[in-house]
Amino acid sequence: MNKVAVKMTVNGQAVEGRVEPRLLLIHFLRDNLSLTGPHVGCETSHCGACTVDLDGKSVKSCTIFAVQAEGANLTTIEGMANADGTLSALQEGFMQEHGLQCGYCTPGMIMRAHRLLQENPNPSEAEIRMGLSGNLCRCTGYQNIVKAVRYAADKLNGRREAAE
């Protein structure tokens, strides 16, 4: 099949490529752009390890073709650190609260939590759990992941500094 041209913005940079239409976005990110933060987990839209932010939506990049992201604005875990290279509130939260063990699910967890906090800056524990229900972790039992998101919410809301 003929390859087609795709253009999109990934982590603030304009990128383009020629791809087979059947190329999944996750493979475009990992193989063509060498962005290996988004992980291939289940390949069946269940685990969320491949989650990226696409035009303000959390998307499982294993379940969308690269050609469907034509013109889109994407953020992957590689684009999450602050401009000065320091960790974002969510990354810091996952470190401080021990929100990972093996780390395989973490890029997807952080990308999903990022969009959750954009939509709901002060989520309850139940809202965090529902918000992350499309992301599976096989290590932690989720307790510390929930705490990590709460840490980031508090930090972004300025409460953590105020309390210290």
């Binding site: 099949m1 003929n2 087609v4 087979e20 239409p21 059947r22 999944l24 390949e43 069946t44 839209s45 269940h46 969320g48 989650t51 939506k57 959390s58 998307v59 499982k60 379940t63 969308i64 073709f65 050609v67 469907q68 034509e70 999903r112 959750l116 529902m130 918000g131 229900s133 499309g134």
Partner: protein, 288 residues
Amino acid sequence: MIPGAFEYHRPASLDEAVTLMTNHGDEGRVVAGGHSLIPMMKLRLAVPTHLIDLGNLADLKGIRAVGKAVEIGAMTTQHDLIASDLLAETCPILREVALTIADPQVRYCGTVGGNVANGDPGNDMPAVMQCLGASFMLRGPKGARQVAARAFYEAAYFTARKDDEILTAISIPLPAQGHGYAYEKLKRKVGDYAIAAAAVVLAMDGGKCKSAAIALTNVGETPIFAEAAGNSLVGTAVDDGAIAKAVAAAKAVAKPAADMRGPQDYRSHAAGVMVERAIKRALTRAKR
């Protein structure tokens, strides 16, 4: 898992999309949110050679009041349904259903049109559309036509939609002011299809049931409109005796298959329990 090769089309208008579907017949498939079709393509259970992406057709998105109906564009996502103030006010069962579908990421992409048109008996919206008496608007080379949701489903993955037709919108007559509603879904985990699920919409007047509709998800090859079950509630006070009769009538039309979600008799029993719970919860929400 790599899907089969295909040629990709991104039409800029509905007319162009219809022309593509006409030209490519049963080798063409439209992709809306892609969260049913792409997994099928990865498993090579679907191998379209022409994929027609409706993503650029802004006309197919949106929720609007049209007279005494609400019209939902086929490309409206489950996320959009959940966020809609208009639906929260006029047809809140849709929000309740959408929240039981898959997970947040899938709901950002998955569309209501794909959910109803795909013909997967596990999808939740088809039975709800039957319960609400919705109509599906189709566009093909010969023009537009409407098919009632209650007449749309023929067998698993077979519907009244012809190969060259595209579902453009869903029209739902607004349920009565003060109606009660509930969608009860038994599932193994978040994101799963139903072991059994039931949709109920009813209206009460002076302590008696004025109208009632009941439909079932994933207990047959198609969604099931349990007409006799709904009718049996009308004129009653929806007391325990009336509920038991409706449950029996619903179970009589449920035809679940034995599968990884359980044996037949368990799933049939579960359907009855879902109907009972949905009626009781709808009743608590209905204005007497």
